[in-house]
């Protein structure tokens, strides 16, 4: 599927500026956004030109972060979201978020931003030559085998190895100096999707498309806990968050969603909102469901290593069990089912869904690993900043921060030095009660693509940002 747009760059641009200027999309002073699912600050648009698609090399750039936030807002405005304290607590924002003007602007900016955000997927990986049902079967089994989850003797996805040692990114979290913050950042990335779990899937429940529709519904039925609120996956996810002291209200950690997390979740919303994407979606879901069972067993092991007995990891246990079924059900009934029903016409699209997902998983993992490595070592990056101060370019931008200034997080497109000229500043690189404090004269190295927000810790603080040449590996 290719993304097309009829809007010209300029009309998209001005509609985008008007969309982002809406009160609910403007930054507020709070670092965490409590109890209001409609408040979703986008951050300054700057001079961004969204008419030229982002390349893979620009995946972690500020354009993708901003586009990711706008698209997240756009997709979620066709889901029903209500504040936990009752509608009265945010009635005006409810009216604005779902209102005519915001929806009209949304519909104008969305196609262009989708083209901007997702076109790189088409270019990044050459499509493997898979044409027939047999080839699709062999290709899929080779892919999941390569991802560490080969089919078992019956040809289905394997049972979970609960005793598998924690490895990869889960191990990296446990090895951080601040493992609880790193684990929380991981849970926050999951929360972007899990607090509305299966809402993208819900867009594919309607219509009339044969046996596959009923097969998808069975999976949805599990995701929604058979109509029992306490068994709904989003509910047990909230219990997991609460058990480790994290907020459970939707998008409380809006400022801490990494670029890759936004792009990844938006991808599934895109494919379910634009129904030309349904084949890609079904294949992408198949690939994920197949890998989830062991993935969530590993996540549970990581959480127990970090938080000990206090974590309620039922959400992980549930997925380690039910996704063994979902992997088999999606593979046999959706992926192969659609290929049987619609033939070789749709097989390239199915393959694309898997290739896209592989790439998004790889890029997302790299983004997260880089973020925890940086956020875990802000003191070392403050020393590095001081050492690099003389190598900075002559492009200083200075600003003044006060405790009540609007707060938003962002990423730089080049390595930057953040120098505190006067006062004190807190650096928020992950959600923590103890942000990294910079005093007057301190210089912090912020590598490109690293999410961060600055908050004044004194009545006034002056901060200068300068570019530094990348002559090192940060």
């Amino acid at each position: 599927m290719t993304v097309t747009t009829t809007a010209t760059a300029t009309t998209t641009g001005s509609a985008l500026a008007r969309y982002c200027a809406q009160r609910i999309f403007q930054p507020v002073p709070d670092v965490l956004i409590a109890g209001n699912p409609f408040l979703r600050p986008i951050g300054p648009l700057g001079e961004h030109d969204f008419s030229v698609p982002a390349t893979e090399a620009e995946f972690l750039g500020s354009g993708q972060l901003l586009a990711g936030r706008v698209l997240c807002n756009a997709y979620e405005s066709d889901m029903i979201l209500l504040p936990p304290a009752g509608l009265a607590s945010a009635k005006d924002d409810f009216d604005l978020f779902y209102g005519d003007e915001v929806r009209a602007l949304r519909d104008r900016v969305r196609p262009g931003l989708e083209r901007y955000a997702f076109s790189f997927l088409d270019d990044a990986v050459p499509a493997p030559p898979v044409r027939t049902l047999d080839e699709l079967q062999a290709y899929f089994l080779a892919e999941v085998g390569g991802a560490g989850a080969p089919a078992d003797a019956s040809g289905s996805n394997p049972a979970v190895d609960a005793a598998a040692p924690v490895s990869g990114t889960m191990k990296a979290i446990t090895e951080c100096r601040h493992p609880e913050e790193a684990a929380a950042l991981h849970l926050i990335q999951l929360a972007l999707d899990a607090l509305t779990e299966a809402s993208a899937m819900a867009r594919n429940l309607g219509g009339s498309y044969g046996v596959e529709q009923s097969e998808l519904f069975k999976i949805f039925n599990d995701e929604f806990g058979y109509g029992v609120y306490g068994a709904k996956h989003s509910t047990i996810f909230k219990e997991m968050l609460a058990s480790v002291g994290l907020r459970t209200d939707l998008h409380a950690y809006w400022n801490f969603y990494l670029t890759s997390s936004l792009v990844g979740v938006n991808y599934f919303n895109w494919l379910t909102e634009d129904h030309r994407g349904m084949f890609r979606y079904m294949a992408a879901v198949t690939y994920l469901e197949w890998l989830f069972a062991q993935g969530f067993a590993d996540t549970g092991a990581m959480l127990r290593a970090v938080y000990g007995d206090r974590v309620d990891a039922k959400y992980c246990d549930e997925h380690a069990h039910i996704d063994v079924h979902h992997g088999r059900m999606t593979y046999e009934n959706l992926l192969l089912g659609l290929a049987r029903a619609h033939g070789e016409l749709v097989i390239p699209e199915l393959v694309r869904g898997i290739e896209d997902t592989k790439l998004l998983l790889r890029l997302g993992d790299a983004d997260f690993r880089a973020q925890i490595a940086w956020a875990d070592a802000l003191d070392a990056h403050t020393e590095a900043g001081a050492a690099l101060a003389t190598a900075a370019m002559d492009d200083a931008v200075t600003g003044t921060l006060r405790p009540g200034s609007p707060f938003s997080t962002g990423v730089y497109d080049a390595d930057r030095l953040v120098e505190v000229e006067s006062g004190e500043v807190d650096v928020h690189a992950w959600a923590t009660q103890n942000p990294h404090r910079l005093g007057t004269g301190d210089v912090l190295l912020v590598p490109r693509g690293r999410l961060h927000g600055l908050k004044a810790a004194s009545p006034e603080a002056r901060v200068t940002v300068r570019t530094v040449e990348r002559t090192f590996d940060a």
Partner: protein
């Protein structure tokens, strides 16, 4: 005191006792009123198809194969005379009771397109 209902098996094949559903399962020529509830996650066993050997039901939700012998253990005591059946309801059931006719796939011959999938149970 145990509650008893009388149902006409030529017209009805399902009994609702509160939220619990029982359906008439053919267990080797005998009609028994068994609980419509898969031991895995509560899937509707009345919509299960038989495995090729006819001895198990393959649950429509996640494919767990539940032995007919295990399903029989959930049966309600029933005395038949012709199409008329006297059914003893579970103890302490003061829940509303109703009888209906529903589609039951579990009594059909084994599904020729059956894939061997899913876990074993019972």
């Amino acid at each position: 005191m145990a509650r008893v209902i009388v149902m006409d098996l030529s017209r009805h094949n399902t009994v609702m006792v509160g939220h619990d559903r029982y359906f008439v399962l053919d267990t080797g020529g005998r009609a028994e009123l068994v609980r419509d509830h898969c031991p895995h996650r509560g899937g509707p066993l009345s919509l299960a198809r038989r495995t090729p050997d006819g001895r198990r039901l393959s649950c429509p939700w996640h494919g767990t194969k539940v032995g007919v012998a295990a399903v029989r253990r959930s049966r309600l005591p029933m005395v038949r005379s012709g199409d008329e059946a006297l059914v003893v309801l579970p103890d302490g059931a003061d829940a509303p009771v109703s009888v209906t006719h529903r589609e039951i796939l579990a009594n059909l011959p084994p599904d020729p397109t059956h894939h061997d999938e899913g876990a074993e149970h019972g």
